[in-house]
């Protein structure tokens, strides 16, 4: 028998088109997802060289970054409008399927891929978007690429890639009540930093990971890039198979059973070796809040902003972050007031995220002076949430209930946090200016964001003990 293999080795071996000494491998790409921001120059490149899209049937486009989440068809920004129109023209010209702004399948590209069953275990998936790592939740090898590579994949359905190193992040034990997948990934990045994954593909393993639902797994894999890893994945198991069944682009009947068998066989073998292994204990993790300007700058909600004087490494960076965030050293996290709350993004905008936030919100009232937005990840998440009355819970409490898109995660549309103002956000990046020039972002789980909306400042969501699930 050959040596035990990781899932990464198995997927890699199945996708090598060509290998030769002194070159990366030519790797086949099964699924190419497209959005309006990183594709126009790629299509233009094809046009100028007289090339076509090799496999339109393996390519799927949507509009998410620029789209308005209110007054859907009034796009005031002419440049945004042109970018969306360009995607439409390009998709028509090159025969690529597009879920445009009014299409029932429209949504954030990393929400709709899984929803439609385009995302499947064992696939190689790319998109001109760093959060493509999300799809790794299914045991797919999924990573973000630049626009030149988008053009390369459109033309050749392949990429030159050196085999990555593998890094196992093993999470043993069980997450406590009120502690979420978001807290888990923030705690991992908080502990090991924003570049421990560089040059690696992360595989998340262990009891706490096995216990996560598919939507929770997507939250974890989504933020692999914030640890420096282009891809992060989880071996398929019964949870994966259950999720896949019945999705639109997934085979049915006997074909499904066959596929399921192959998917389960992709799981890393017992005894497979990783280049590196890190361990974290789930039962030590508490709800997290970021205080700084990168995702590793986070502490438990009961904690305090660090004191740069007591820290050796990157003291200047920490001082600059505290200053940008308008905080003080040693300030307690719970004392930080919020003016905006954003529940959405490819990290936390799926139905289960909205359900959990709604459980906190039910019967409550958004605190005076707080503007709170819920932006479902896709049209279909929005419809499903409305069918079970979540919109009413949010609206009654004083939240705004919007249409699907990336929205305030990166503020490319009109959903912007003004300079100097503070936002509790369920998104993935707290970089300077991410949610608007001068905006101050604190990353949290949907439950923590909901609680902050009601209280007007950060609060330990576990105090809502009767409503937070295990």
């Amino acid at each position: 028998m050959s040596h035990p293999k990781t899932i990464v080795e198995k997927i890699w071996d199945q996708h090598v088109v060509h290998e030769e000494e002194g070159k990366p491998n030519l790797l086949y790409i099964d699924l190419h997802l497209i959005h309006e921001v990183t594709s126009p120059q790629a299509f233009e490149g094809l046009r100028m060289a007289g090339r076509k899209v090799r496999r339109p049937d393996r390519t799927y486009a949507t509009m998410d970054h620029n789209v308005p989440t209110i007054h859907r068809n009034i796009i005031k920004d002419e440049v945004s409008k042109k970018q969306m129109e360009t995607l439409k023209t390009n998709c028509e010209e090159f025969g690529v399927r597009l879920a445009d702004i009014n299409h029932p399948d429209q949504g954030i590209v990393h929400v709709i891929g899984p929803e439609l069953g385009l995302t499947q275990p064992g696939k190689t998936i790319v998109c001109g978007d760093s959060h493509t790592s999300t799809h790794g939740a299914f045991g797919a090898l999924a990573f973000g690429i630049g626009t030149s590579e988008v053009e390369h994949v459109l033309a050749t359905q392949s990429l030159w890639q050196a085999p990555p190193k593998t890094l196992q992040v093993n999470v043993d034990g069980v997450l406590g009540t009120g502690v979420t997948a978001k807290d888990l990934i923030l705690a991992i990045i908080g502990k090991y930093g924003v570049r421990f994954g560089t040059g690696h593909v992360i595989e998340y393993t262990g009891e706490a990971v096995r216990n996560l639902s598919m939507e929770e797994r997507m939250t974890v894999c989504n933020m692999s890039i914030e640890a420096g890893a282009r891809a992060g994945l989880i071996s398929p198991d019964a949870t994966t198979i259950d999720y896949m069944r019945g999705k639109r682009y997934v085979p049915e009947g006997k074909d499904f059973d066959e596929a399921a068998e192959q998917w389960l066989a992709l799981a890393s073998d017992e005894g497979a070796e990783y280049d590196q292994t890190l361990t974290i204990h789930a039962d030590e993790i508490e709800p997290q809040v970021t205080w700084g300007t990168n995702p590793s700058q986070c502490v438990p909600v009961g904690g305090r902003v660090p004191d740069p004087d007591s820290i050796e490494e990157d003291r200047d960076g920490i001082e600059r972050a505290i200053e940008y965030m308008g905080l003080e050293a040693n300030q307690s996290i719970e004392s930080i007031p919020v003016e905006h709350v954003f529940i959405g993004s490819c990290t936390n905008s799926r139905l289960s995220d909205l359900r959990k936030a709604a459980e906190i919100v039910r019967g409550g009232r958004v605190h005076e002076g707080v503007r709170a937005l819920v932006v479902p990840g896709s049209k279909s998440v929005k419809d499903a949430a409305e069918a079970e009355g979540l919109d009413t819970i949010f609206l009654t409490a004083g939240f705004e209930w919007r249409d699907a898109g990336c929205s305030m995660c990166l503020a490319m549309n009109d959903d912007i946090v003004p300079p100097g103002e503070r936002c509790a956000s369920t998104s993935n990046r707290n970089f300077e200016g991410r949610q608007g020039n001068g905006a101050r972002t604190h990353l949290v789980s949907p439950e923590m964001a909901a609680a902050a909306a009601l209280e007007g400042h950060f609060v330990d969501v576990r105090k809502y003990a009767s409503t937070v699930g295990g």
């Binding site: 199945q14 996708h15 060509h18 990366p24 030519l26 086949y28 099964d30 921001v37 990183t38 120059q41 233009e44 060289a49 090339r51 090799r54 393996r58 390519t59 620029n66 440049v79 945004s80 042109k82 970018q83 360009t86 399927r97 385009l118 275990p121 064992g122 696939k123 001109g128 760093s130 973000g144 690429i145 630049g146 626009t147 030149s148 590579e149 053009e151 390369h152 033309a155 050749t156 030159w160 924003v194 570049r195 560089t198 890039i225 420096g228 282009r230 682009y249 074909d255 066959e258 990168n294 990166l410 503020a411 490319m412 300079p419 990046r429 970089f431 300077e432 991410r434 020039n437 001068g438």
Partner: protein
């Protein structure tokens, strides 16, 4: 793509770690559908005040770095978003070489597609370059063929994958190269290797 063989230029030191692509080019400038013209938006929020005037507290605005073409940065340079607008902005501003102790993977890859040479060097060496460039007008010569950086006093060698090196030296169109392997791709698709999946249509 324009080939790079040798380059001599003024060094600009940016002594910050984790410089993310949102800082290199903020999102409001990602809406254009062209590849050119992004240099004016490079480090926009650091270079400009709200009213569009220059921020004096940002070093790139110091006239002593006018015409700089070698950027020396901190750890994890180019982290975050995959936006190729980041290397487009760096290149369009006039930088040809970026040196750092570590790079984010996607940014690093994107550089090679745009005729920018990213060079990873040990942190103590980068610190040395940073210090020299902060003190005075500091020029280096970068020789990609020999894989050497030389300032007339200090000579440092650097590593680069041969594939990346050849790509920059020749200014290749990577797609044209890959299309010479088209028969291999055809063959792969015929063999239907890998997990059985349904196409979209």
């Amino acid at each position: 793509m324009e080939p790079i063989k040798q380059h001599r230029g003024l060094v600009y030191p940016l002594d910050r770690s984790n410089v993310d692509t949102d800082q290199i080019i903020p999102k409001q400038f990602l809406k254009r559908i062209e590849r050119q013209g992004f240099g004016q938006f490079l480090f926009y929020n650091w270079r400009f005040n709200e009213d569009g005037t220059l921020r004096e507290d940002f070093s790139l605005n110091d006239p002593k770095y006018d015409g700089a073409s070698v950027l020396v940065g901190g750890e994890n340079f180019g982290c975050g978003s995959s936006r190729e607008h980041a290397p487009w902005a760096i290149q369009d501003y006039g930088f040809k070489v970026v040196i750092a102790p570590s790079f984010a993977d996607i940014f690093y890859n994107n550089c090679f597609k745009n005729g920018i040479l990213p060079i990873q060097l040990p942190k103590p060496v980068v610190d040395q370059l940073m210090e020299k460039a902060t003190k005075e007008k500091y020029e280096v010569k970068v020789d990609l063929e020999k894989q050497i950086i030389d300032d007339g006093d200090l000579e440092v060698s650097f590593d680069i994958q041969s594939y990346h090196k050849e790509m920059l030296l020749n200014g290749w169109d990577e797609i044209a190269v890959t299309l010479t392997y088209e028969d291999k791709i055809d063959q792969y698709e015929k063999q239907n290797k890998g997990v059985k999946t349904l196409g979209i249509s």
